[in-house]
Each structure stands twice: as structure tokens, then as C-alpha cells.
Symmetry: C2
Subunit: 198 residues, 2 copies
């Protein structure tokens, strides 16, 4: 299909690259969606491609193989970067706000995927191990004071629970209350794990 | 198989009934285990029976049908009873302690099953609806003060997250710390949702 009206994006620099990034992101989202509902071994490249609205060869072009695609899908590296991206004294608020915004805007949040670990047997092991290293340990290393590892687990636990309540149990109250208000109510408890009062 | 040595249980009253209860509980546990790993439609009565160590006809004898078995498996009624069984002023501690004890002793907790809702499509809907009515609303109805529904969701969210961290992410610190210590650290935040300080 051709058109004589140039698409606005075609005028700005690097549209091909931006399109590629958007397509890769769509493929990762599609794979994550399927991983929340089916065992890893039951998911075909074709199903991922279909859901992302692309062809299976394009998935292979971008990711090389199903295994390489899933390695990226099972990683929390980029998500942890975003959810932990704040100075320690405001980190509790940032974590809660970031999670709620992700849930409200994308219907998913940066850490909720860990709950699907039991579905995936050996890949569940990879998911758990990535989660502990890339999210929990990374947070723990930033915390001053004693029992930093335990406190990081408790803080991340609180955050996980809010994601489950919002995205899975679909609590009508959390879903209809302003993000700022839930943050005001919930973040102090998370922050108390990060920087205990005293 | 017969034996001339009487089994101790055979001497106490009502052993047949107790055995039946134990068998039913084993069947429910088996069904719950499978529901955490497979879509509802992929689970056969035979698989449930096998995991419970009984015959498929026995499952039918106790539950009537696969649908009736799953209706019980998807209910939170009995679990909510136990996890909410404390006076309001000590409820946060009780909820946390009960969850951790269940996780430590049975490898599962009273409310964690809700996280498998996305696996089960229309049955996921039943699971969510049961969860909201039998657990969250029931708790909310006990809370004095404004925004009881939202506060109940936040309290249950915190509890869910601790279950995910313990039972799914398998955080090494929460798993190796005494239940009493985690309760001391975590319960005040849950309690603050139930009975806000002021």
C-alpha cells in the first residue's frame, strides 16, 4: 500500500529504528501476555507473532530464537531500573507511584510477572532467580542499616501485593481511587522498610 | 489387605468419618496444586485423583462432579474464616502470622490462590468474584471509619504480597527469619490499614 500523504513520523529522524523498537516492544508484550496464561513449553513463536501482529520470521529477525526472546522476557533488568530509579528518601513513593501508573496505563506492572513462576517449571526457576538478583538484591544493596536483605524483601513484597490487588484481584476501590491518594496511604509502609524510622 | 494389629486410629471414635475428611482434604489440595500450574480445562479428574493418591470414582463419590469439586476449590470461604478470625485490634498480627504459618507448614497460604486467576479465564472470574466477596468485602465490613473498602483492599494487598514473596519468589530472608520477627515488622503496616492511627 502506498500513500501520497507523508506520515508525520517519516519526517523526523530515525523512523525505521523507532519502528523497530516499537515492534520489538510489542513482541515482548505479546510474549509476556501469553506467559501469564500458558506454560512456557506450550507457547509457539507463531502465537507470539500473531498476538504482536507481526510475522514469525520477523520475531526471529529481531530476537534470533524463541529461547533468546524468552530470555529477554524473563529478565527484570529494565523494569528494575525504572522502578528503583529514585533517591532513597523518596523511593517508597516512587515505587508505589510507578507501579500504579504502569498498571493504570499498560495493564501490567514492572514486577508482577514473578507470580507466574509456578507455571513455568525450569523457566520459573530462571524467573525467580532473575527477580531475586535484579530486583530484590539490587534494592537491598542500596539500603543502609541492619537486615537490609530482609527489609528489601518486605518492601518488594508490599509492592507485589499492591500489583496483585490492582491487576489480578482487580479490587474496585484501588482501581477507582486516584493514584496520588493510594500512594499517600501505601508508600509510608514501603518507605518504613527502606529507611526504618527511629 | 488385612492385619491382626489394630491401627491406633481404629480405636478412637469415628475413624471412617475422619478418614473421609482427610481424603477430601487431600483431593482439594491436589486440585489446588494443579490449578496453580495448568489451565482449568486441561485438568482431568484422573490427574487430580492420581495426585491425591485415590481413584477417580472416589473423587466423584465425594464431590459429585468435576464442576462441584472445582466450585469448592475456587471458594475462599473456609480460608477467610481462618485468616480473619481475630478481634480487630489484633487482626493485623493474626493475618500475618496465619499466612506465614500456613506457608511454612503447608507450602501455601489462605489467599495466594487468587494470583492464578489469569490462568483460568471464566473460572478466573469466579475466583476473583469469590475473593472480593468472601475475603475483601468481609474484612471491609468489619472496619470502622471512612474508606473501609479501600483500606480492606490495601490490607489484603499487603498480605498477598508477603505470600508472593514467601511462596512464589521464595525470598531467602523471609524464609529463614522467625515468623514472630516478620510479624513484628510487617503487621503494623497491615494494622494501620485496619485501624488507622490518629
Amino acid at each position: 500500500m502506498t500513500s501520497s500523504t507523508p506520515h508525520p513520523a517519516a519526517c523526523s529522524p530515525g523512523p525505521a529504528r523507532r519502528d523497530a523498537e516499537a515492534t520489538k516492544a510489542a513482541i515482548v508484550r505479546a510474549a509476556r501476555h501469553l506467559l501469564a496464561r500458558h506454560a512456557h513449553t506450550d507457547i509457539t513463536l507463531k502465537a507470539v507473532a500473531e498476538r504482536a501482529g507481526v510475522s514469525p520470521p520477523l520475531v526471529l529477525k529481531y530476537f534470533g530464537s524463541k529461547d533468546a526472546l524468552f530470555a529477554q522476557v524473563l529478565s527484570f533488568e529494565a523494569d528494575a531500573e525504572a522502578v528503583l530509579d529514585a533517591p532513597l528518601e523518596g523511593l517508597g513513593r516512587h515505587m508505589v507511584q510507578h507501579l500504579l501508573t504502569s498498571q493504570a496505563e499498560r495493564g501490567a506492572d514492572p514486577i508482577l510477572r514473578i507470580v507466574y513462576a509456578p507455571l513455568h517449571r525450569e523457566h520459573g526457576y530462571v524467573l525467580r532467580s532473575n527477580f531475586r538478583t535484579q530486583v530484590v538484591r539490587r534494592l537491598g544493596e542500596r539500603l543502609p542499616g541492619p537486615d537490609a536483605g530482609l527489609r528489601a524483601e518486605l518492601a518488594v513484597g508490599m509492592l507485589l501485593g499492591l500489583g496483585v490487588m490492582y491487576g489480578i484481584a482487580r479490587g474496585p476501590h484501588v482501581r477507582s481511587t486516584a493514584i496520588a491518594e493510594i500512594t499517600d496511604r501505601y508508600a509510608p509502609a514501603v518507605q518504613a522498610c527502606l529507611t526504618p524510622p527511629e
